[in-house]
């Protein structure tokens, strides 16, 4: 309580308005911190791993943490969707592609383009510092517990199929186009026996261990 009295008056009232009571944390707040550390740790692990599979598994952990965050925000439908679609479907797609590529990174970081990287990182830090400073002042308009049907499949579905019906249909068409485009882009060229060089070369050179580096030099 002593540290509160030292601060200016507006700061204290702002903290009271958002529900903080000094250093005493309630149970949900402790859970929030545990899940937040889990989520951010998974995210940092994702972008620092050299092994691609380890990165994907860290990303799955991050998505589970985010699903828990959605549940804490009473968005239960989105929490289930996060686990099913993100941690289930999209990450499975990533794992399949990594199994196809099957190559770890020799050096994950390089000095090339360092000026652009420095400018990008500084711009990012400046932007987020500015935005994050103002985020501290955001208070909930309705801090009370939402009604029981908030965030359920019924309520989100009602909004989705009335106000956003056209958007919903457009997204379904977008997904169809994306699936067809993915098949067209990633298919073996020539469709089997009539291809010229690359598809058959893949099949013959992939099992030869140690041949790949020479192949790479040959191409570059």
């Amino acid at each position: 309580m002593l540290w509160q009295s030292v601060q200016p008056m507006g700061r204290v009232t702002a903290q009271l308005a958002t529900g903080d009571q000094g250093m005493q944390w309630s149970g949900p707040q402790i859970w929030w911190w545990i899940i937040a550390v889990f989520t951010v740790g998974g995210a940092i692990s994702t972008v620092t791993r050299r092994n691609n599979i380890a990165a994907v598994m860290s990303l799955v952990a991050t998505f589970f943490g985010l699903a828990a965050m959605y549940a804490m925000l009473s968005a239960h439908f989105l929490a289930a969707l996060q686990v099913l679609v993100y941690a289930g479907a999209i990450m499975t797609l990533f794992v399949f592609v990594i199994m196809v590529l099957n190559r770890d990174e020799a050096e994950p970081w390089a000095w090339s383009g360092i000026f652009t990287k420095i400018v990008g990182v500084f711009a990012l830090v400046y932007l987020v510092t500015k935005v994050g400073y103002h985020l501290f002042g955001v208070a909930a308009a309705h801090p009370e517990t939402p009604p029981a049907e908030f965030g359920t499949v019924a309520q989100v579905g009602e909004v989705l199929f009335t106000d956003y019906l056209f958007v919903f249909e457009a997204v379904s068409v977008l997904l169809l186009i994306a699936v067809v485009a993915a098949v067209v882009v990633a298919r073996q060229r020539g469709g089997g026996g009539t291809d010229d060089d690359d598809a058959s070369a893949d099949i013959t050179t992939t099992p030869a261990v140690g041949h790949s580096t020479g192949h790479e030099d040959h191409h570059s």
Binding site: V47, T62, V128, A139, A181, A186, A199
Partner: protein, 100 residues
Amino acid sequence: MIPIHWFLELAAVLFVVGSLGVILRRNALIMLMGIELQLNAANLTLVAFSRAYHDAHAQAFAFIVIAVAAAEAAVGLAILVGIFRNRRSVNVDELTIMKH
């Protein structure tokens, strides 16, 4: 009672981590995962404001963002497979064929 700006600050931190992955890493797969992190940070912001205003419209929007992210991941990974088949690499520093 958890203040709503805690969730917003967490989303900002996740966005920074994802952006750093996109800017600093050279593996195109890790860059795609960084983009997924950025999209999820935006989704967390949408859901937090949905809870703050007791408004389900933002949750419908987050649903649409998830669907678009699925389409983005499918096309992006297909492009990566195509690039790897031709160039034997997913290192973005070596993909300079459009510079010459």
